[in-house]
């Protein structure tokens, strides 16, 4: 009986450790946010993107960021290498107060998605950005 109790306790402990990690992991085992940090980076990388994964119709990007200075962009990259970007801010809420949003596009037309502090608007300062890509809607 004592061994059985130890076994149950061990299994529960393992589940307690493993389940939250599984819930936050993406399809390929990367952490929930595949990128957390400033954009652009110290190395002038303005865009961070990630494979959407396979076998569903969707590629979903979630971005949360440090608000108040300027707008950020969702980026989707086609299998041919072209890119489509969507400004996060839409207007009614006033400029740059949105801090967490999602966009979804179709696979397999798009293969990668991510987040961008637009490079063509030089002079915008770095923004702390969390970026997530998945292939499920929920």
């Amino acid at each position: 009986v004592r061994n059985a109790r130890y076994l149950v306790c061990g299994v529960l402990a393992l589940l307690a450790i493993a389940l939250p990690g599984a819930a936050n992991a993406t399809h390929d085992g990367t952490p929930y946010w595949f990128w957390r940090g400033y954009l652009p980076t110290a190395g002038d990388v303005y865009t961070k993107h990630h494979e959407g994964g396979c076998c569903t119709n969707w590629i979903v990007t979630r971005m949360s960021w440090e608000v108040g200075t300027h707008d950020m962009r969702f980026i989707f990259i086609t299998s041919g290498g072209a890119w489509h970007g969507f400004w996060a801010n839409t207007g009614p809420q006033g400029c740059c107060v949105t801090w967490d949003d999602e966009a979804v596009l179709d696979q397999p037309y798009y293969r990668r998605s991510g987040c961008q502090n637009p490079p063509e608007h030089f002079g915008w300062w770095p923004v702390w950005t969390n970026c997530h890509t998945r292939n499920t809607l929920g």
């Binding site: 400004w87 839409t90 999602e102």
Partner: protein, 222 residues
């Protein structure tokens, strides 16, 4: 009660009344200065004139399977924030298709009755729903701006679509070269614009009242 105590109470009461009057006065001055902005008809401004969602019911616009798929996606990805009634979805305005991408602005009711908006693409994509009532300090323009190209960092086309609040009579677009041009509005004050020429890329959108006064300038970059 002695007369000394009565006098002290009277002094306290007068002091309280004075402070209350001063606070009320300061509030009135503050409200007056806020009401002195160029747009004086904002009391009537609404995104849902007559309490109605703008747009035609999505079923009436005969959406393609991809657009219907986009609506489903928008509802699903918004679920952690707001629960949308899928039967209430309306289409306000559609963009042109540029760079393979077309967009439609949609509106819908949340289960609690709030008016919400999102965007769906011609390829089955979507932006998540947001609701008007949950936002403060709002502007008079709603727009989805997309851009794209063949090399990241180089914008080759711009496509935007949106609609305006009820107090907006005229919407213009200011280009990168400084030209200001009128955008035609549909019956829900929906508008669209696209360009593949850098000189004609947008810099801002402007919303005007019927009397010509500027309500808002919304930076809108390529």
């Amino acid at each position: 009660m002695t007369s000394k105590v009565r006098n002290r109470r009277s002094v306290v009461a007068v002091a309280v009344l004075c402070v209350a009057a001063m606070v009320t006065g300061v509030s009135a001055i503050a409200a007056g200065s806020a009401g002195g902005t160029p747009s004086t008809s904002t009391a009537a401004a609404t995104w849902t004139p007559g309490g109605q969602l703008p747009g035609i019911p999505l079923g009436a616009s005969r959406p393609s399977a991809r657009v219907a798929s986009g609506v489903q996606a928008a509802v699903a990805i918004s679920r952690r924030r707001v629960s949308i009634d899928p039967g209430s979805v309306r289409e306000v305005v559609a963009s042109e298709v540029v760079g393979g991408l077309g967009m439609r602005v949609i509106t819908a009711r949340a289960v609690g009755g709030e008016a919400c908006y999102a965007m769906v693409t011609n390829r089955g994509g979507a932006r998540s729903f947001h609701c008007f009532s949950s936002q403060s300090g709002g502007g008079a323009l709603l727009r989805y701006a997309a851009s794209g190209g063949t090399v990241i960092g180089n914008v080759e086309w711009v496509n935007l679509v949106g609609f305006a609040r009820s107090d907006v009579a005229r919407v213009t677009l200011v280009t990168q070269s400084g030209n200001e041009q009128d955008l035609s509005l549909n019956r829900w004050r929906g508008f669209r614009y696209s360009s593949q020429s850098k000189e004609a890329f947008p810099a801002a959108l402007r919303a005007y009242e019927a009397n010509g006064s500027l309500i808002q300038e919304l930076p809108t970059l390529p």
